[in-house]
Amino acid sequence: MIAEIGHFVLVMAFGVALVQAFIPLWALYRGQSYGRDLAKRAAQLQVILLAISFAALTYGFLRSDFSLLIVYANSHEAKPWIYKFAGVWGNHEGSMLLWTLILAAYGAFFAQRAVALPDRFATMVLVVQGWLGSAFLAFLLFTSNPFARLLPAPFAGRGLTPILQDPALAAHPPLLYAGYVGFSMSFAFAIAVLTTDQPSRDWAKWMRPWILAAWIFLTLGIALGSFWAYYELGWGGFWFWDPVENASLMPWLSGTALLHSALVAERRDTLKRWTLLLAILTFSLSLAGTFLVRSGVLTSVHAFANDPERGIFILAILALFTGGALALYGRYLPRLSEDRSFAPVSREGLLLANNIFLAAATMTVFIGTIYPLVLDALDLGKISVGAPYFNTVFGPLTLPFIILLPLGPLLTWQAGRLIAPLNALLIAALASLLLVLGLWITQAGVPLIALLLIGGAVWLSLGALADLAQRLRPYGWQLVRQPWRLPATAFSAPLAHAGLAIMIIGVIAASMWQSETVVAAKAGETMEVAGRQLRFDGVREVEGPNYQAEQGQISYLSGPHQGKVLLPERRFYQAERGQTTEAAITSDISGHLYAVIGEAVAEKRVLRLWFHPLVALIWIGALLMALGGGFALRARMSKTGQGAA
């Protein structure tokens, strides 16, 4: 009964989305004034209906109602409740319902807050949201009904893939989707700008908080996914250049470019055309990511859904929205005022360089991801494009990017002089050059590009400090007396840029200096890993809520962790007939000791121990980036009336 209500309100939400998509447009066309109000009401109603539908599905999962097909296929009575809950989006149908709910939430939030924006513009944004809502609700209802019944109901469900039964992965999809879907707002803004006569020059200012919000969510979502892979997949890899990871990286890269170009469009009335194009392409890449993941065209560890009919439907949505938006872009672009010109050495100039590099990075990921598919489809052979390709290309692409980066914030707008930033950064330059030289002499066998990247990251972080100092200088004593009253903008870019630097150091250190020990050990045997004395104490059986596990115990015999134990597990999930590896990790300032137990060989046990130096910096860096974004968002909200918008 509850499920039928869920299904029914889903159909109602579809109807409301159609109303939101077309009737306000008609009102605009006829010059009548009810459009905005109607669109606002429809957006609000839509989110309420979708929330009810989502709650109904959640209820089905929590109650293990196996008469629902997707509950049967993806859940099990014995699962802890938190994974029953997370199971709602641990499958195709439920995750698309979540996608649509988040889309509606953005729309309703905009409708609520955007009181300061002109009628026509705000209505158009909501209309575009209505188009997207209609398309995705049609997709749900016609190809992926989450409320499909299975009668007679089976007694037991098939369970959730064990590696997904993890707290980080429970939170990963909602964050990621909040990022993907958030870019629908900048997309809708772009369409509204293009279809409005003489749009207000403030559009970039209005757009920025939404880009920031989406970017923050996407940053956190990707970082969480990477962290999960690191500790769950059992050997400490943090990024695999897997097609599905790439699908999330593309909108992140182009969203980062958009974030910066919108800044230029807002402040300097230039790069407007490019910003609109990026807004369209970033959301298209989000859609393409959804397509790649959901259609199963890729064979990858993430491809849980395989259904060509759905693939074609999403491809049609993708073609419709991207194609339609690009057609509008071509047609209405001349309406925009000319872009103002600027000197190459200026903040705009450097932000332009930033965008060119980020565009090249986005295209690299794009081409690397689809190249094997295209080649195969054209019958030109089967090739693989994997981590070694991307690492080869991304090193030389990142280096000039981070070398140029610190100059930007230290230059003035329109036409700057290089001498000021170079003065401020002289010590940073010397320090990083010396570091590279020192590493080059002492670290034989490490590729030069890796050392240069470390030097570049140090230069970048010192540059972020210089930027921060420059921003805080006017506040003098307030720094000490009332630090909480300092403006949030002072911290945004420096934090985000320092975060990038810290992440790069983590990536290079963990890739270049990790060490690995593989042994078959008897209980009581001692071993040394990265200078740490350890003893294998043996294996015991432990019982989890819905799994049995073998738990190994490894003790530290000396050093700062003396007396501590590592407890890696191998878990066997009966319901799902699957197994997972739970690594045990000891963290300290120098890095992670990462232990995994393997199979038994006679009376010995295979142990795999890694030392991952500085690896935590990867996620700390990502958090700092998101935090920098948060400061920028806070400054935006209080400044632009999008606080009231």
Partner: protein
């Protein structure tokens, strides 16, 4: 020959769909590593570039599938026999097809793959040059 390769790859991918999903990925087993640290470093670097054909997007260095283990042993055997990295790559490609390489060789069919980043940078530079044609004279605060 090409036809045979294709059939093998298709078979391997079909198998991958059934066996690759175990996710249990553990690099090399005890005793597999070579005693010579320099050779072993080369072995690891090579292994990371070779695809485990029955897995989903895993290198032979990351996979515990039998095929991956065989290939790791083949790589190490040839290293001990004194072959260069390129000779080993060529030998593996001759047996399994180019699909086995995670970093495709540069050639006509991979021209766009390798050149795209450069092309975008050049296009970007050209675009920037046009945008900056008339730089203004005085700086603005």
């Amino acid at each position: 020959m090409i036809g045979l390769k294709r059939i093998f790859v298709t078979l391997a991918m079909a198998l991958g769909l059934t066996f690759g999903l175990t996710f249990a990925a553990h690099a090399i087993a005890p005793g597999e590593a070579l005693n010579d640290p320099q050779l072993e470093t080369r072995a690891r670097a090579l292994s990371a570039e070779l695809r485990c054909l029955v897995c989903q997007n895993q290198s032979i260095d990351d996979s515990d599938a039998d095929l991956a283990r065989d290939l790791r042993q083949l790589v190490r055997g040839r290293l001990q026999a004194g072959e260069t990295d390129d000779e080993i790559r060529t030998a593996v490609v001759a047996r399994y097809g180019e699909f086995v390489l995670f970093r495709p060789q540069f050639g006509g069919h991979t021209f766009l793959l390798w050149m795209t980043p450069l092309i975008i940078l050049l296009l970007g530079g050209f675009w920037a040059h046009r945008l900056l044609r008339n730089p203004p004279s005085k700086p603005v605060e």
